[in-house]
């Protein structure tokens, strides 16, 4: 019985070593690079300084034209908005969102690039913001 224990333990140890040495690729952000090639935005929101949504309705996301159109409430402070993207599984965004963004230059809409899970597909989305208008009687 004793003579089987040592080979068994050795085999087990080797197996653990083999598994632990399996090389899972990690990108520069420490995120797992997967096999997924899907690359799109599934939802988008804009939050005000009070972290409440400022959009008047669900955004129009065109995954072919790679555009996002969103209308915000009258009186929204466009200089201080937090964009909130929902992406397909394993995808990431470039540049990263680290705080408030200034959307006040409506002529030059802001852009973000979605990068697929396998890091091989990149799609740049343009965010068009419009403001609900005050119509005087």
């Amino acid at each position: 019985m004793k003579k089987y224990i040592l080979p068994f333990l050795t085999t087990l140890l080797l197996l653990i070593l083999v598994i632990s040495c399996n090389d899972y690729p990690i990108d520069e952000d420490g995120l797992l690079i997967t096999e997924r090639a899907e690359c799109y935005v599934s939802n988008f929101n804009l939050l005000g300084s009070d972290f409440q949504t400022v959009r008047t309705a669900a955004p129009e996301i065109d995954t072919v034209a790679q555009t996002i159109k969103i209308e915000v409430f009258f009186g929204t402070d466009l200089k201080n908005l937090y964009p909130q993207f929902s992406l397909v599984t394993d995808a990431k965004l470039d540049p990263k969102i680290v705080g408030k963004e200034d959307f006040s230059d409506l002529e030059n809409p802001k852009q973000w690039t979605v990068i697929s899970g396998n890091r091989k597909v990149r799609k740049t989305y343009t965010v068009y913001v419009s403001v609900q208008q005050l119509t005087q009687n």
């Binding site: 300084s49 409430f73 201080n80």
Partner: protein, 328 residues
């Protein structure tokens, strides 16, 4: 060796049974003689001028040793009018309600000392002390010496503090009315009408407007006098009133001292001092009940947090409570 190995677990098991069967008889701890006291601070909020710091002061001695004669509190800075030591001792009934039993005369405050003289023959009581923070304590530290005397000649003392009093001011339940009393001054912590506002144009930091505009969520809005005319629809403003306040909308900051609701949230001096208004707008549209607004006055003299206690859609009114810090 084998027999020892087998016997050791048996021995441990036997010992465990023996220990677990050992009976420790409970006895009520013997109370040491003499007058004893203890104190806790009930307040968790920042200490703001005009607000209370609350304490519960307990004192007791053995019944056979005598009875309580008086309880005293000496504050390092005399409390404002309204400072008192409650003459009731409380217990909690079966429904969880605190019931007060009067055990002493009404408290007497003289200078910085507040006293309750016991009128019932009692050997134990817990009295509540309410210290109303005076303006003299602003920015300073205040401490308290609690004491109790008993008929056996003993007197005990208990030191509490020091407690830092904040620099900020606080005002509750200002009511602004659409188109009439709609001018808000942070400098004065007050609401003015058009005539008063025109007389103090430099002090007007906000205008309250209530508009029901189809297709737009304007509703109850607080705007700086300088804001674009689109944010002051159908409102005529005297040109001399033109301050540009910086405003940041807030949500989920139901400061307990302002809201008096169940939330354990407090805006403190540090919050007001540290908030950065760079790039902040001069208007806040569609303010809702329980929302808030950070504000910096044009001259940079004051920073404030304004909490919306209530909005009245039918009468075009808003109820505000404000914490304000002078930063210059």
């Amino acid at each position: 060796m084998k027999s020892i190995t087998i016997n050791i677990p048996k021995l441990i098991l036997t010992a465990l049974i023996f220990i677990s069967c050992s009976e420790n008889e409970f006895s009520i701890p013997e109370l040491s003689s003499g007058l004893k006291n203890d104190c806790i601070n009930h307040s968790i909020a920042p200490n703001v001028v005009g607000q209370y710091i609350e304490f519960a002061y307990a004192m007791a001695l053995k019944p056979e040793e005598g009875r309580l004669l008086n309880a005293n509190v000496v504050a390092s800075i005399p409390g404002d009018e309204g400072t008192y030591l409650n003459n009731k001792s409380y217990y909690t009934n079966g429904s969880g309600v605190n019931v007060g039993v009067e055990v002493g005369e009404s408290s007497v405050t003289s200078g910085n000392k507040t006293t309750v003289t016991f009128k019932t023959d009692t050997c134990a009581a817990t009295l509540r002390y309410y210290y109303k923070i005076p303006n003299a304590a602003r920015g300073k530290e205040v401490s308290f010496t609690f004491s109790a005397s008993a008929s056996n000649g003993e007197t005990v003392y208990y030191e509490m503090g020091p407690y830092k009093v904040r620099e900020m001011d606080l005002v509750l339940d200002l009511v602004a009315t659409n188109n009439t009393d709609c001018y808000i001054s942070i400098a004065d912590m007050a609401v003015y009408d058009a005539i008063e506002a025109a007389a103090n144009p430099d002090k007007i930091d906000l205008i309250y407007l209530h508009r029901a505009i189809p297709g737009i969520s304007f509703n109850h809005s607080l705007v700086s006098p300088s804001s674009d005319s689109q944010f002051k629809p159908d409102f005529v403003l005297a040109p001399v009133i033109n301050n540009k306040s910086k405003l940041i909308k807030a949500w989920n900051i139901q400061d307990q001292q302002l809201a008096r609701l169940q939330y354990g949230v407090f805006v403190d001096d540090l919050d007001l001092r540290n908030i950065n208004f760079a790039g902040a707008p001069d208007y806040a549209i569609n303010m809702r009940a329980e929302s808030g607004l950070w504000l910096e006055t044009e001259d940079g003299m004051y920073k404030a947090y304004i909490f919306i206690n209530k909005v009245d859609n039918s009468n075009g009114k808003i109820t505000l409570s404000i914490k304000r810090l002078k930063v210059k």
